[in-house]
């Protein structure tokens, strides 16, 4: 009895130790990158010897960096605008239909999440090469939309789970058509999930590197692509500054999305 208790307390100690280790491992990059970004040094170094905001000023002073950031934001915004309606509509269809086709549609739509991004990137690259869509903003938007739809789909489906579809039928019996029933009855109730999924779509595009690496170039270069190139050529702390800003932005959006999904009652 006593031995059992001791062993279990040892086990729980080990388990919490492991949990803490995992958490540290997950947040470590943040604790390294953010201080590095405030380094006064010419090179990426940790820990920084002196603090300075110079690399942030460097970023905002460089037209190359700001243009890339602007391109990334535009692409993320457009991706969000495309992927959200597509994903929500797909989730709605899959949720309401009981046909075998809807299960197949679900699998196909989730495919970009299962196939390695590098494979997706190569595939799109060859298709775009044929139709001349490489290095275009529209091309990247379409590719990012494809990658973002699974996130929207999952989030919206979880929002629809537990939603009583009889409500839509009730609305129809009361005199509104199906679209109005969705807009007036269903959408307000899954609003949180829809907003969360839009934010996920936005962030997924903003962070995306692999596909952008293949498809974007020159003036259509996204921020992560430029960072990747910069990392290879000249290692300076501007990248750490950008990373820090991206981390803050993603955290803020992610938290907002979590609040959005939680609110759904």
């Amino acid at each position: 009895m006593r031995r059992g208790r001791e062993r279990s307390s040892l086990a729980s100690l080990l388990l919490s130790g492991l949990g803490i280790a995992v958490l540290i491992f997950l947040v470590m990059p943040i604790f390294i990158v953010v201080p590095m970004s405030f380094s006064a040094s010419r090179f990426l170094s940790f820990p920084p010897t002196a603090l300075s905001p110079r690399w942030y000023l460097e970023f905002f002073g460089s037209p190359e960096w700001t243009r890339a950031a602007w391109v990334s934001l535009q692409i993320a915004f457009a991706t969000c605008l495309l992927a959200t309606p597509i994903g929500v509509a797909a989730a709605y269809g899959i949720h309401t239909s009981s046909s075998r086709f809807s299960r197949a549609a679900y699998t196909v739509l989730m495919m970009p999440l299962m196939v390695p991004h590098i494979i997706v990137a190569i595939g799109i690259f060859f298709i775009y090469a044929r139709i001349g869509a490489n290095n275009t903003v529209v091309g990247i938007i379409l590719a990012h939309t494809m990658l973002a739809v699974p996130f929207v789909l999952i989030t919206s489906l979880s929002g629809l789970q537990g939603f009583d579809m009889a409500q839509e039928r009730a609305a129809q019996s009361l005199g509104v058509n199906r679209l109005e029933a969705f807009l007036k009855v269903t959408a307000p109730q899954i609003k949180g999930s829809i907003i969360a999924s839009a934010l996920f779509a936005f962030v997924s595009s903003l962070d995306e590197v692999v596909v952008s690496l293949f498809l974007s170039g020159g003036p259509s270069s996204t921020l992560p692509k430029r960072m990747f190139v910069a990392l290879r050529d000249e290692v300076d702390p501007t990248i750490a500054a950008i990373s820090s800003m991206l981390i803050i932005a993603s955290l803020a959006i992610g938290l907002a999305a979590m609040v959005g999904t939680r609110k759904r009652a």
Partner: protein, 370 residues
């Protein structure tokens, strides 16, 4: 557009007749409605009664417009509405799950149909108030849906379905989520509301007592077909099939053979029947436990038996009886100080009699298991 009275939800002037003509609906290999035809009179309270999977809810959904039949037509009034979408049928529906809109308060829920019909707020206000008062929820307009009890939600669902003065109201097991006492109370209330509004009402339930309590007529559904259509009295007292006899009331179905048009042989005894005995060699006699009486000497259709078990159930005694040849049946006798002493105890013997009017013979249901 339909004209609305501002402050009165009184008798609907022209309740509508409904005609279901040869409706068939299949899902893959399963036939849910098999060539079903049914005529419902204007202003009638018609109940679709049946076990789960009998097709009653599908039939309701066909009438509501949520399910399109493979074959057959549906007429509401004189209009063929088979291809009309649900939102243009103007039918008030009460759903089993209530399907209230949780993001709106009570008044907004009730006013939803009025807003959809672009009725001004000034006009809608009194109509909502009137509908709420009809279901005894005056002053509940500002409440949130999650602040309501089950019974109150049920009333809001009712108010929402009647506020736009539909000429046809459908109810899909609206009371199944309520406890027994509240359910029985609401049955009486819905019945009174129907009498007051006068709209044709189609009610779906699997609860036979509810059907008997509320309906003008009952359509008993079984395996995608209507087994019997009739008044509660007809359905209960003169079932025309073994399924209906077994589904409604407390009955034992005992195999019998035909003697002539008005008598059968049960357990070696001749039983007289008030109505004509059907032709067939698969006949069963419907022995309803409360129709059996302790026989007086001259009574017709006597069945001598031994009481194997006697159980007191409050308002009545339930006796398990067995004849010399091993035929078993149950007898229900009201409990009263004046008659309790006459009841045989366990192991005692008695003559039970079945009035010829209650000696109902039907054909055995070939597909059913008893």
């Amino acid at each position: 557009m339909q004209r609305f009275r501002q402050d009165h939800l009184d008798t609907t002037e022209n309740p509508l007749a409904i005609e279901v003509r040869g409706i068939t609906k299949t899902y893959g290999p399963a036939t849910v409605l098999d060539d079903v035809s049914l005529e419902i009179r204007p202003g009638e309270f018609m109940t679709l009664l049946g076990p789960s999977g009998s097709g009653k809810t599908t039939l309701l959904n066909v009438i509501a417009g949520f399910v399109h039949p493979d074959r057959g037509r549906l007429l509401i009034g004189d209009e063929d509405v088979t291809d009309k979408p649900p939102h243009r049928r103007g039918i008030g529906i009460v759903f089993q799950s209530y399907a209230l809109f949780p993001h709106m308060n009570v008044a907004e829920n009730v006013a939803f149909s009025l807003k959809a019909r672009r009725i001004s707020r000034a006009e809608a206000g009194p109509m909502v108030a009137n509908a709420l008062s009809l279901v005894k929820l005056e002053g509940f307009g500002e409440r949130r849906i999650d602040q309501l009890s089950g019974g109150q939600k049920q009333r809001v669902a009712l108010a929402r379905a009647i506020v736009f003065q539909p000429k046809l109201i459908l109810m899909d097991e609206p009371l199944s989520a309520l406890d027994k006492q509240l359910r029985e109370h609401m049955q009486i209330e819905i019945r009174a509301l129907h009498e007051r509004l006068g709209a044709t009402t189609i009610y779906v339930t699997h609860d036979q007592r509810e059907a008997l309590t509320m309906s003008n007529r009952i359509a008993v559904l079984n395996r995608a077909r209507i087994e019997q259509l009739g008044t509660p009295f007809e359905i209960y007292d003169t079932p025309t099939s073994a399924f209906v006899a077994d589904f409604i009331g407390e009955a034992v179905l005992a195999g019998v053979s035909r003697c002539d048009d008005y008598s059968v042989l049960l357990d070696g005894r001749r039983m007289m029947c008030a109505s004509k005995v059907p032709i067939g060699n698969d006949l069963v006699l419907v022995i309803r436990s409360e129709k059996l009486r302790l026989a007086e000497a001259a009574a017709e259709n006597q069945i001598p038996a031994i009481v194997r078990k006697r159980i007191f159930q409050g308002e009545s005694h339930l006796l398990f009886a067995e004849t010399a040849n091993g035929l078993t049946f149950t007898v229900r006798q009201p409990s009263h100080v004046e008659s309790d002493g006459l009841l045989p105890g366990e192991g005692g013997s008695a003559n039970f009699s079945l009035h010829p009017a209650h000696t109902v013979v039907v054909r055995r249901d070939p597909k059913a298991e008893y």
